[in-house]
Amino acid sequence: MAAELLDAPFDVYRFDPAHEATPRYQRYALHLPAHTPVLTALLAIRAELDPTLTLRYSCRSAICGSCAMVINSKSRLACQTPIGPELARHGRIVIDPMRNMPVIRDLVTEMRSFWTNYHRIEPHLKPNRARPPPEGKPNPMTPAEVARFQETPRCISCAACYSACPAVEADPMFPGPMALAKLYRFVVDPRDGATNERLARIQPEGLWLCLRCHLCTEACPKGVRPSERIMDLKELAIASQGATDPGSRHALAFKENIREAGVLNELKLVRQTSGLPGMAAQLGQGLRLAAKKREILKRPKPIEGHAEVEKLYEILDREEER
């Protein structure tokens, strides 16, 4: 099974904050078959070229979650990223540590914030008093109930999603994709009795900082699709708690806004979401736009067939009318 060897230049992030002022990239020239995983290549560097290169790794089969890193600017597991496609696209392989966490050394990051955010959502079963577990027997759970977990049991806590997330980067209040996907896993568990309490807590604690950018879903090596689980959580949170946060207020306001004319009334949306103080806060920005003759005060005419839109709201949005 001899495979053709590719020239595989690696540029690997090296940094020892205890002894060095700035990070650098070290070039290692390897020759490997195209299907070689990046992890195997890095271990070859350690074994043959440079035993001082340091990284986390263990299972090499995408189940322990140790070897998440940034490979050609994408957060991935090194063990399941073959070098061939990376070389074809980039001509070289640039390896960085995960983002959004400080570096301990080389490719090893300090993951405390990631785990703290996970523990913040109280990731453990809180028994459902309305449905106590039968003595000495497993809880019955139908395949349909198991299906509600969606893809969340696949999560291996590798933090690739956390590394890829722009909201994590910008706001420490955001718990991150993995923590919210785990929260979803408990919210839909019929054995858990704290669904409403969990949904109430998470609204002001960062749920609505998710940008719906789906970078986490692209980064996730296990197909957990965190962004979609966060969308599910948002829907469940509104259904259970109503709008208790600027984010849920904005979502509901937007929905109401479109009901009126079928298209957006921008000015009104600001008032609906933020109230008068919010409008005042946007005044400066509004004046800047107005100075450029931007139509910020325009009230849109209802679209043709607006009655159809109203009717869809009537049919599908009834339970939202509290």
Binding site: L209, C213, E218, G247, L264, V270, R288, K292, E295, I303
Partner: protein
């Protein structure tokens, strides 16, 4: 080429320069824009958060309108593109579709799922073709280093939208190259602009926008371009706030995609609505040989 024109809310309201530029460019490229005054808002992801089934029904109705006319849909907004394409994907699930169909039946609409939704970027790159575009360029944007900024919903989730390269897209850069500009590659080009939380937690949204502009600048961009008017709001209209959030001046002109196409095809800055931008584009325009500096 004849397409159902779905301009989206912002391009008809505060972001009208995008609509102006699109119409001009469509005229030049022989794209006939058929208007449907009964299109509703795509929900911008917000209705999806509040009520996913309602969101699907509204977009199924939009798709059905084009379907009745036998036309594909042309979008000029990454978010509209994403929401409409995602609706097509989600309605592939029989259980979901049955719920939506039941509601649509009550307004006499039927959704057949045949409507193809394409963003102007892909219409130009895949249907008109970059060779054809190059032939029509009268004023190449030579020397202008532009950082393309895609907008999330044009790309992700890739498997649902059918985009082939969400992690490493290149069509926008290819287009910029065909216009004569120099595309700049930077990580932030596929990141989020912060817009979805602009009215939820503005300082965080501003910081996210600032991070992407910083990244573009660090890789040599003199201007950015976006196929999404919501990104444009974040990156241009709120750039002063982004500067405050990251703590230094950014001074990054941000173009709508059709504005750059229009300029290369001979439009004036005024025809492209450039004076409406909050961050002046003059510096960037000065690098393009032959553009009048009135803007």
């Amino acid at each position: 080429m004849k397409l159902a024109y779905y301009p989206g809310c912002v391009a008809q309201e505060s972001g009208r320069e995008l609509d102006m530029a699109t119409r001009w460019v469509a005229g030049k490229l022989g794209i006939e824009l058929v208007e449907f005054p009964n299109f509703s808002c795509c929900g911008s992801g917000f209705i999806d958060e509040a009520n996913p089934i309602l969101n699907l029904a509204l977009n199924a109705r939009n798709l059905a309108i084009a379907e009745r006319a036998g036309l594909g849909v042309l979008t000029i907004c990454s978010t509209c593109q994403g929401m409409l394409a995602l609706a097509n994907n989600r309605l592939g699930d029989a259980v979901v579709k049955a719920k939506v169909d039941a509601a649509l039946a009550q307004i006499g609409v039927s959704y057949g799922g045949t409507t193809r939704v394409t963003h102007l970027l892909d219409v130009i790159v895949s249907q008109i073709g970059l060779d054809e575009l190059r032939r029509r360029v009268v004023r190449p944007l030579t020397g202008l280093k532009v950082g393309a900024f895609y907008g999330c919903h044009l790309l992700r989730p890739a498997d649902r939208l059918g985009t082939d390269s969400a992690e490493e897209p290149h069509t926008f850069e290819d287009l910029l190259g065909a216009l004569g500009a120099t595309p700049v590659m930077y990580r932030g080009r596929v990141m989020c602009c912060g817009f979805p939380i602009l009215f939820v937690k503005e300082p965080t949204a501003n910081r996210i926008a600032g991070n992407q502009i910083d990244d573009a600048r660090a890789h040599g961009a003199e201007a950015m371009a976006t196929p999404c008017p919501l990104c444009h709001i974040s990156l241009d209209a709120y750039q002063n706030k982004a500067e405050a959030a990251v703590g230094h001046p950014l001074d990054m002109p941000v173009f709508h995609l059709p504005q750059l196409v229009g300029l290369a095809l001979g439009a004036t800055p005024e025809q492209m609505g450039l004076p409406r931008h909050l961050v002046s584009t003059k510096g960037a325009l000065a690098r393009i040989p032959g553009v009048a500096l009135s803007a």
